[in-house]
């Protein structure tokens, strides 16, 4: 509940019916094969006089969100913090330059697609081992993928296997398929060759998700589904000290680690104790009382947190907070039945006092949006949206224009949102904003199955939040507003062929600049023509950390680099 604004959905989170057919390769960065050690990376870190120490974390794990740390089962960002500290995958993003992230090989020395991006070949680094000495081999990956993809295992990310040829057959209900020939592991040549269901230039980025990480085959076979409840053996910068329990997860440095894409070869900390919090408020109190070294900032405490403690608030993260208009079963606000209510929607968007919301609910820490896609995504264009700023006069004018053209509201409009997470206050302000231009509204707070209900046609003017799975324009457009995403993350069920076509053209464009422009055109159409979505703000960091802690930062994708965190003595 507390973290419902953070969504860790992996690549192009879609239902089985929505396989993105990205034809040719994406940007050149995804086919980058060099594993450079950037000098810039070294400059960012603080040099510590001594290494080691135990870090007591109170920020990452909130009890209600937690399910399992098993890489095949992780569901939320909370658990991923732990899982990614113990497991390294084929590839990883380098965020040294936050505006220009670069995909690099981690366990994979090289990763190359074939000519039409239907087959990817990963060359695995030699002599990498798990923390118990077992070697990491291409078969470790094949075994892991097939184990995670079984229907009986019911992984929340099981649908990811659909990218692989015939992968969907493993996910079908009561499927007995247990291996995929499309995954060829050659332990002699140390290659992993994957044939895809359809061309996808983003696949190398997608495999950075824990679902596609390696697992020690022999050990896991002894536990299979229960692996996550045991003392898991991994290959990351840290390893588990004991199996996870009700109160905490404890990790210790893994001396057999193979290093990361930034050139680090050894983790700073000796030990990390992730303490499970009941909620952010309690976690913050514990932090202030000196019990922990980090905490999530609860809603309402940002002002005090910034004044009193070290924090990550200035770091922009790849997330956007927005409301979507429902385009299904929503005669008041949608264009169903041949109507055109875009003027009404534009009026509503300009009536929202985003600054007031930012000040009151987020203490001014969020960034006001000029579009949906946040800065840091390749291709980002500033001031893209013409109707996303607060302007009462302009709003009233648009509303009048709409009325003159025959538009009438035959009752209050409904605002849907999920309870918890501070949205109540945002909605209260929105209600007052709408009242100021003469629109009455009622609220529809939903506590269970919110996103599912919205996706199936329950959305009228509904709240949403999106956090990037990986930094591409497509993740914020295709996965949220395309026709293929209807029934998935397209909460408003928005479907427009012109928009889809623009996106398809962009996805097929190999040249970075041209592709960026095409994506811009799509977003402009989405906002300035159809006004299908009202962005409210762009996310920023939300954690505090103790005075003695160094190198603690929330990168744009949210996964903290635990190997770099250190404690001054």
């Amino acid at each position: 509940m507390a973290r419902s604004t953070r969504r860790f959905t992996a690549a192009a989170a879609l239902s089985l019916l929505a396989l993105t057919a990205a034809s040719c390769g994406d940007s050149k960065s995804t086919t980058d094969t060099a594993t450079e050690t950037t000098a810039a990376a070294a400059a960012v870190t603080t040099v510590l006089s001594q290494e080691g120490g135990t870090f007591i974390d109170g920020a990452q794990l909130v009890a209600d969100n937690l399910t399992s740390y098993d890489p095949g089962l992780v569901q939320t960002l909370d658990e991923s913090q732990v899982t990614t500290a113990i497991y390294d995958g084929l590839t990883e993003f380098d965020f040294t330059d936050k505006e220009k992230p670069v995909l690099k090989g981690l366990l994979a020395e090289k990763f190359e697609p074939n000519a039409d991006a239907t087959v990817w070949t990963f060359t695995i680094k030699k002599e990498m081992t798990f923390d118990n000495g077992d070697p990491v081999l291409p078969s470790s990956f094949k075994f892991a993928w097939e184990r995670n993809a079984r229907a009986s295992f019911a992984s929340p990310y099981g649908y990811l296997i659909s990218y692989v040829k015939d992968g969907a057959s493993m996910q079908k209900e009561n499927s007995t398929v247990t291996t995929l020939d499309a995954i060829k592991a050659d332990d002699e040549a140390m290659t992993l060759e994957v044939t895809l269901e359809s061309a996808n230039a983003d696949f190398a980025a997608i495999v950075s998700h824990p679902f596609f990480g390696p697992l020690p085959e022999k050990l896991v076979k002894e536990h299979m589904d229960d692996w996550g409840t045991t003392l898991m053996v991994g290959n990351g910068p840290f390893k588990m000290e004991a199996a996870a329990n009700e109160q905490e997860v404890v990790l210790v440095r893994n001396d057999k680690w193979g290093g990361n894409v930034l050139g680090d070869e050894k983790a700073n900390l000796d030990r990390i104790e992730f303490k499970i919090q009941k909620d952010p408020e309690g976690g913050y109190t514990a932090f202030e009382a000196g019990d922990t070294m980090s905490a999530s900032i609860p809603p309402g405490k940002f002002g005090a947190a910034q004044k009193d403690h070290n924090n990550t608030v200035k770091s922009g993260t790849l997330g956007v907070y927005f409301f979507v208009f429902g385009f299904k079963n929503n005669p008041q606000l949608s264009d169903e039945g041949g109507k055109d209510n875009s003027l009404l929607r534009k009026a509503i968007s300009m009536a929202i006092d985003r600054e007031q919301i930012n000040q009151k609910v987020y203490e001014g820490t969020r960034n006001l949006p000029t579009g949906v896609v946040p800065p840091g995504i390749p291709g980002f264009k500033k001031d893209l949206c013409k109707f996303c700023a607060f302007n009462i006069d302009e709003s009233k004018k648009l509303l009048q224009e709409w009325k003159d053209a025959g538009g009438t509201l035959n009752g209050p409009i409904t605002i849907n949102f999920n309870t918890g997470g501070g949205h109540e206050d945002v909605v209260s302000i929105v209600q007052e904003n709408l009242k100021a231009i003469g629109i009455e509204s009622t609220t529809d707070p939903i506590s269970e199955k919110y996103f599912g209900t919205m996706a199936k046609g329950g959305c009228r003017f509904c709240r949403a939040g999106w956090y990037a799975d990986y930094p591409t324009y497509g993740n914020f457009t295709l996965d949220l507003f395309s026709t293929t995403a209807v029934g998935g993350n397209n909460n408003g069920s928005f479907s427009d062929t012109k928009f889809d076509d623009l996106l398809a053209k962009a996805q097929a464009e190999v040249d970075d600049t041209k592709r960026g422009e095409l994506y811009n055109q799509a977003e402009e159409y989405l906002l300035n023509d159809r006004m299908a979505v009202v962005p409210f703000n762009w996310y920023t960091g939300d954690q505090v950390y103790g005075d003695k802690v160094v190198n603690y930062d929330q990168p744009p994708l949210g996964i903290i680099l635990w190997e770099r965190v250190g404690i001054k003595k």
Partner: protein, 334 residues
Amino acid sequence: MLSFIVRRVFQLLFVVWGAVTLVFFLYFLLPGDAAEILAGGDNRAVSETVVTNTRNKLGLDRPVIVQYGKYLKSIVTFDFGKSFKDGREVSEIIKERAPASLRLAVWAIMLEASVGISLGILSAKRKNSVADTVTTITAAVASAIPVFVLGYAFQQVTGVYANNHDWPQWLRLPVQRIGPDEWYLWIIPSAEQFRYLVQPMIVLASVSTIIVARLTRTTMLEVGKAEYVRTARAKGLKEGVITRRHTLRNAMIPVITFIGIDFGTLITAAILTETVFNWPGLGSKLVASAEGRDLPVLLALTVVVVLVYGIVNLAVDISYAWFDPRVRLAGGER
């Protein structure tokens, strides 16, 4: 006596069955699709395949009656299965959490009993005096403050404020969690452990201390007027002796009864205290398992809670019957 006990044991089993059945059907009454929520539906739209696979994996696709039978069997054999949420053995979870709840409850009861009874005796002795009024008001106010507010206030003072103003270490109390979990003879905390125990203990006890105090006061006064006490006074016995030998013992019966019942209530009513102090007990797990749709854990917790409550009640009743012959002879329901 024996038939009394046997009858009560059967009643307890019936109550356990009833509670489990009620909770089981309440679970399926809860809003939303359990499988979808367990697959992450609270935070994002989940694909149909994943929901279906999750449902099959957890056995939620079988007809409700079949599931009911399966869970009844698991309860009878004490094999509660695995948590829907993280796959851990439910018995492991209970083993981790139950002691925490019990220890907190025992200490809270001890505090509540000692403070409450003392206050009650004091109030009875000096009825309507200033001391009586002051203690009444203090205890009443303490119980009128919502538990989570009291807990929060404690945390702010001994934790945050203390940290910001550099109080001496021994005054600075940790604001949450159970700490080192060090206990001697299972129930006596180490010094460090006590620092974690003291705040939740006080907060939990605050709710019922006033009731114990008022109850003691009332029964003390009442017994004090009884014939045999008047006789004792007439005989010339000193007041202190009268108190100790006659009034106190008899006055304690209803008080002990109440405290015994309160013990059972405390274990579940500690939900709020456990939440505020992040004390890893059964109460907070109950909330989590209801919200998280974790059926095996929910049912197991229900069984544990009902059993404890029932056994404590039974023990109190047996001791009550033991102490007060009138009850024994009267027989039948209490």
